[in-house]
């Protein structure tokens, strides 16, 4: 709301998957840290082109799954063997076999929650406001365009040099986005 809007970053538009991937390789090799590529669909090989490490979502799913299985087993043991023991067919009060199906389902249930919410947490979503989403041109990212965005906070950022790099990478449209 204050008059002097702070610049957020430089956005460069590309029209093909190959061109944005080559641009990403160049930006990666130039040593930028705070930058990103925006695409309408996941581009195969882009993680490598950006130098990203393997996603950590798996840990959240794993934790969810372990929690689910333990919850199931402990819950059934507590309910049917400890808190209110019921003899069914003269069988032991607790058996891991009959407790398995519900625990298995809970493993999957909690694992699925772990994956979705882990993904959202790692992506810092939901986010109701983002400087890029105010830009009319950027709205094409969900349509058919590809963008490389380099944030002004990056130590390597310089208005002239970065622009030159992106132009050399083949972008026809470069602009600066405000916070």
């Amino acid at each position: 709301m204050n008059g002097a809007a702070k610049p957020y970053g430089m956005i460069a538009e590309f029209t093909t998957a190959a061109s944005v991937m080559h641009a990403a390789e160049k930006v990666r090799d130039a040593g930028f840290r705070k930058w990103d590529v925006f695409t309408p669909f996941p581009v195969h090989g882009m993680d490598h082109a950006m130098g990203l490490k393997n996603s950590k979502v798996g840990w959240f799913s794993f934790l969810g799954g372990v929690t689910g299985y333990t919850t199931g087993m402990l819950m059934i043991w507590f309910m049917n063997a400890l808190d209110y023991p019921i003899v069914v067919g003269g069988k032991p009060m607790f058996s891991p076999y009959s407790a398995f199906p519900p625990s298995y389902e809970l493993t999957i249930l909690f694992g699925a929650f772990g994956s979705l919410f882990g993904m959202l947490f790692l992506n810092r979503l939901p986010r109701l406001h983002h400087p890029l989403l105010k830009n009319k041109r950027f709205a094409l990212v969900t349509h058919d365009r590809f963008f490389v965005v380099i944030e002004c906070d990056d130590p390597n950022y310089s208005e002239t040099e970065t622009r030159k790099l992106l132009e050399e990478a083949g972008s026809r449209h470069i602009e600066i986005i405000e916070e």
Partner: protein, 478 residues
């Protein structure tokens, strides 16, 4: 740049071995967004209202029937000694079986790298969710006193009694509720990037706000895609054992009992195959008209229909094998009750149910061996309806025929549904189609970003994806 030298004459495979593209007519990204989004942006077509109004009326009838049943008691249904599980459980198993194709398409085919799934997975997942909703009504209502349904869940109550976890019916509660929840999560996660598409195209403030809320601020960042794809893969990996377990557990409701005709070990795989079979039947029933009415022939191509017919053929044949094996084991077991139960299926008072099942599930789908049948939309549509009918009769055969004549001839009986049974069943169609029609009206029924991802333009190493072709040595004659 030194491009790797590619031999001048790359031998091209013969025409009949070349892959048919998944999106026909070389449609681009923009076309895919425009085409699919327009389905929820344009005015509702006339046929939509023609289908929606009767569906909604059926839904109202469902509400009336359920209120009548709750206020009067389960006696309004045809369930009567000895057939204490009638249309309620038949329809429960039938609907939940239909719900299996969605997760099969979205999870198992994803793990198997069947990229054609992208064109049909969104609609199939929606179908799954609505089918499970229809299914869930029956077990919740057939207990009679629905206000005690919460006793099914491990919630402390004033009697300090907990659910008894040795019962497969209890496993079923966990399996079905997990299945519903995970299907919704999977479906919603797939929707996030597509809701962002609709948000970015929205003209009105309301649409922008509503789709924006659902899109959670998705920007298409590759750092996000990286986590997203991993989460999608894991969800697919988790849903695969889930979809196999749900119908296995449903089958254990029967198989754990002592009743001849139910007490068989083949039930879990047999039920799962049947569920996938019926689910693909319903997917074809829904998508064949939709692809013509919505002009989606370039996305849901004849190749897609062809592959789905083949899955139907394969699962139908597995089901046919299971029917044969059941008979063999009944004879081989040496148990006179088992033998009687199966002979009674084929030749007893309900012979017409058994032979409807055999013809619709085993005999007619064999026509899919012939290419002409897989390519003829009218034939495929009729076949898909027959599959749905056949699978309904399969549950009828298993439940009603097994129950109506058990050990003691003195307790034999004959089951007929009541009017309330029939109206409730029609009502569930109302619920299903109302939800499905609202879905195709307000949400993208094709996974936009996934379909974009399987086009050649999306592949940075493909000439259409912008890979430099001029660097290659041109393919010239020797």
């Amino acid at each position: 740049m030194s491009a790797p030298a590619i031999p001048a004459n790359i031998p091209q495979p013969p025409a009949e071995l070349q892959r048919v593209p998944l999106v026909a007519n070389q449609r681009g990204f923009a076309w895919i967004s425009d085409r699919v989004s327009s389905l929820c942006e344009d005015k509702a077509p006339f046929w939509w209202w023609v289908l929606f109004v009767p569906s909604f009326l059926c839904l109202c009838m469902l509400g009336f029937m359920l209120s009548y049943q709750i206020s009067t008691g389960v006696g309004v249904w045809g369930n009567m000694h000895p057939v204490m599980w009638g249309w309620d459980i038949i329809n429960f198993v039938w609907w939940i079986g239909i719900g299996h194709a969605g997760t099969l398409i979205s999870a198992i085919l994803f793990l198997l790298r069947q990229r054609w799934r992208t064109a049909v997975n969104r609609a199939a997942e929606a179908m799954t969710i609505f089918a499970v909703m229809c299914a869930g009504i029956y077990p919740a209502l057939h207990v009679g006193r629905v206000w005690y349904d919460w006793w099914l869940f491990p919630i402390p109550n004033s009697n300090s009694i907990w659910p008894q976890f040795r019962s497969p019916l209890m496993w079923d509660v966990f399996a079905v509720s997990t299945y519903f929840t995970v299907s919704v999560l999977f479906w919603y996660m797939g929707l996030i990037p597509d809701l962002a598409v609709l948000r970015d195209r929205a003209k009105s403030k309301l649409r922008q706000f509503m789709y924006g809320l659902g899109a959670l601020g998705w920007t298409g960042s590759n750092r996000h895609w990286s986590n997203y794809e991993k989460a999608y893969l894991i969800l697919a990996g988790l849903s695969t054992p889930l979809v196999l377990s749900v119908h296995s557990i449903v089958s254990l409701d029967f198989a754990v009992s002592q009743l001849p005709g139910w007490h068989t070990t083949i039930f879990p795989p047999y039920f799962v195959a049947g569920a996938i079979f019926s689910g693909f039947g319903m997917v074809l029933t829904l998508l064949i008209p939709l692809r013509s009415m919505f002009k989606l022939q370039d996305i849901i191509t004849m190749r897609h229909i062809d592959v789905m017919c083949k899955v139907t053929l394969a699962t139908g044949s597995i089901v046919g094998y299971a029917y044969g094996m059941e008979f063999f084991i009944a004879w081989y077991s040496g148990s006179p009750f088992e033998r009687f139960a199966f002979i009674n299926r084929a030749l007893g008072p309900y012979w017409w149910g058994y032979w409807t099942m055999i013809s619709c599930n085993v005999i007619f789908p064999q026509l899919f061996w012939i290419k002409w049948f897989r390519q003829n939309l009218v034939a495929v549509f009729i076949m898909s309806i027959l599959v749905n009918i056949g699978m309904w009769f399969e549950r009828f055969v298993i439940i009603v025929i097994s129950l109506h004549r058990d050990f003691l001839p003195a307790s034999w009986g004959y089951f007929s549904p009541s009017k309330v049974d029939i109206c409730t069943y029609i009502g569930t169609f109302g619920l299903f189609f109302t939800c499905f029609l609202l879905f195709i009206r307000f949400l993208p029924m094709i996974a936009i970003s996934e379909v974009k991802g399987v086009t050649p333009q999306a592949d940075p190493h493909h000439p259409m994806g912008g890979a430099k072709v001029e660097e290659r040595i041109p393919d010239e004659e020797e």
